[in-house]
Symmetry: C2
Subunit: 338 residues, 2 copies
């Protein structure tokens, strides 16, 4: 470990391919044209919302493999997770691939966790090629955590809209024909609990965890925020972003110039009625695949701290009056000069 919570990779894993698939609302947003595939029926041909989410994971991995000219047998490990109870979107989505399967849970931070664990497997020379996959679906998430869709509940301004989408990423020990980015390090987050209990304000629940991981990351690596072209959180939304700035200001850290939040960018919240922004495991994953990696590939950005954020609640813990702790896992992505 580097410092208290970080990993520095000597054999830096290459991100050789990625795939993104989203639903109709995401396709109608500002990044709509960048995603690899769009399903205009949000059930994606399935009978249930959960099955629809599973099909997203399956397709995202298929896209990533196809783009890299690889077959499933070229992969040695899969790291996957989602928001649903017992991670059923991953289990049912990926069982057909018949690959050694590492199930992960980090709520909406799972994309960061999967890239961290996948990088560990590749950098530690345990595997040559691995896949990291996460997903979320607006309808399955509302059912899992809040109200039935048909109930038509009102959403406060602090609420976020769960992204329907999945992102899959292939990491390799060797560069191959195409490299989207290089992973040079990671910071594994702690569970941070400020005692907040409002599941309609997840940004506030997660901001303390994001602030904690960013602060520790900069300390562990001995870096200042301007080392990065961008510091990109997962799904804090507008409310969480302001809290993140405030919390970091208390630690004399200013990331206002570098900060971007996938949840804020993925929707046009005025026009699309998404309140504080987008959220869900799929949010940071599809923005990473479609937008962030593009900027890194083109060399517009050279160094990015990518930090998906998760709110660790279940409907059971919520209904029992428990707080909603947060967690954020950070990954350092760098432009590959070839």
């Amino acid at each position: 470990m580097l410092g208290k919570q970080s990993l520095q990779f000597m054999n830096k894993p290459y991100m050789i391919s990625s795939g993104s698939i989203v639903g109709s609302k995401e396709a109608a947003g500002p990044m709509g044209k960048l995603f690899d595939k769009v399903g205009y029926d949000d059930k994606f041909g399935a009978d249930t919302w959960e099955d629809a989410e599973s099909s997203l994971q399956k397709e995202a991995l298929e896209i990533a493999l196809e783009k890299a000219g690889l077959k499933k047998k070229d992969l040695q490990l899969v790291f996957a997770g989602d928001l649903l109870g017992q991670s059923i979107a991953s289990s049912f989505g990926l069982s057909g691939y018949q690959l050694p399967h590492v199930g992960l849970y980090g709520a909406c931070s799972t994309c960061g966790l999967s890239l961290t664990m996948g990088s560990m497997a590749v950098a530690g020379m345990f595997a040559e090629k691995v896949a990291c996959i996460t997903s979320s679906h607006f309808a399955s998430a509302e059912k899992e955590f809040r109200f039935p869709l048909a109930y038509g509940n009102q959403r406060p301004k602090s609420a976020t809209w769960t992204v329907t989408g999945s992102g899959a990423f292939l990491l390799s020990a060797q560069p191959g024909s195409q490299v989207r980015a290089v992973i040079s390090g990671a910071t594994v987050g702690k569970i941070v609990d400020y005692g907040l209990k409002d599941s309609m304000n997840m940004g506030a629940c997660m901001a303390p965890a994001a602030a904690d991981t960013i602060r520790q990351h900069l300390e562990d690596f001995g870096r200042q925020p301007d080392y990065y072209d961008k510091i990109i959180t997962g799904d804090l939304g507008t409310v969480g972003q302001q809290l993140l700035f405030d919390l970091l200001a208390e630690a004399q850290i200013d990331i206002t110039k570098q900060h971007m939040d996938c949840g804020i960018e993925i929707f046009d919240s005025e026009r699309q009625d998404t309140n504080a922004g987008g959220s869900g495991c799929g949010c940071s994953a599809v923005v990473l695949s479609a937008y962030i990696l593009k900027k890194l590939e083109e060399g517009v950005w050279n160094r990015v701290l990518f930090l998906p954020t998760g709110a660790l609640l279940s409907k059971t813990s919520f209904n029992e009056g428990q707080s909603i702790p947060g967690i954020a896992h950070g990954v350092v992505l760098e432009h590959y000069a070839g």
Copy 2:
């Protein structure tokens, strides 16, 4: 990777300590006197079953740390998971430790998955010391997957009884004053789905996955079953054990001499009315800590293949008529000669 699904560790992680805590029924079973701690009130001082399960994880880790003479600050990573939706037993149980947290999901195979990932972190020299923790609780599991306890449903003979308990394990790159065992390899399981749908017969749902991982493990390492003193599955129970023997017989593999199942051993099913045996993440974890590691420590056994088995279902997928796929992750534990 060794072969298709396995890892061989050059820097073999040392298991330097472990802790087990169980409920009253487990304490009344054949292994009752071996566990480190017993809670005679199965709520363990908490207000809810979920909170009771969280307190199990907290205590198991405390016991493991105390036995090793270590403090939480000596640990660099925690690998944890449980059966509940969004792994709340782990999140709420371990948040107080304020350690970098890797959330895992493998249903009742999570103990094997956490030891595999923890070993990867230590063997890959990413961390010096890590903790691996899993838990289950009879009452929180019944609520999560089946019927309210007060309903008093009848249980078929194939049903298993979820173990109330938690096991915590400390892995280290250096031997330290005490070594319970050495981890020399692991086999990461695939999701295996035979289309079974009976959540009251989890042994049958998981047996195909156990057979698959055992077969692949022996192939990857080029070993015969008699290489091991014991091949120990997690919670197949009596029904699953017979199916495992039958499935392996089809592949000309006979493990009947070496096989033991934690679920069969932990209860006296005639006397304790536990039908096919015990189950749950906690089942294999507490048997490993209290019994298997003792035998390895004493040199009664020299080599053990420890293979927790998981059934990947949620109440949602079950109610939607989905099948119950299985997964099994294997870990090779060896006697430490000093």
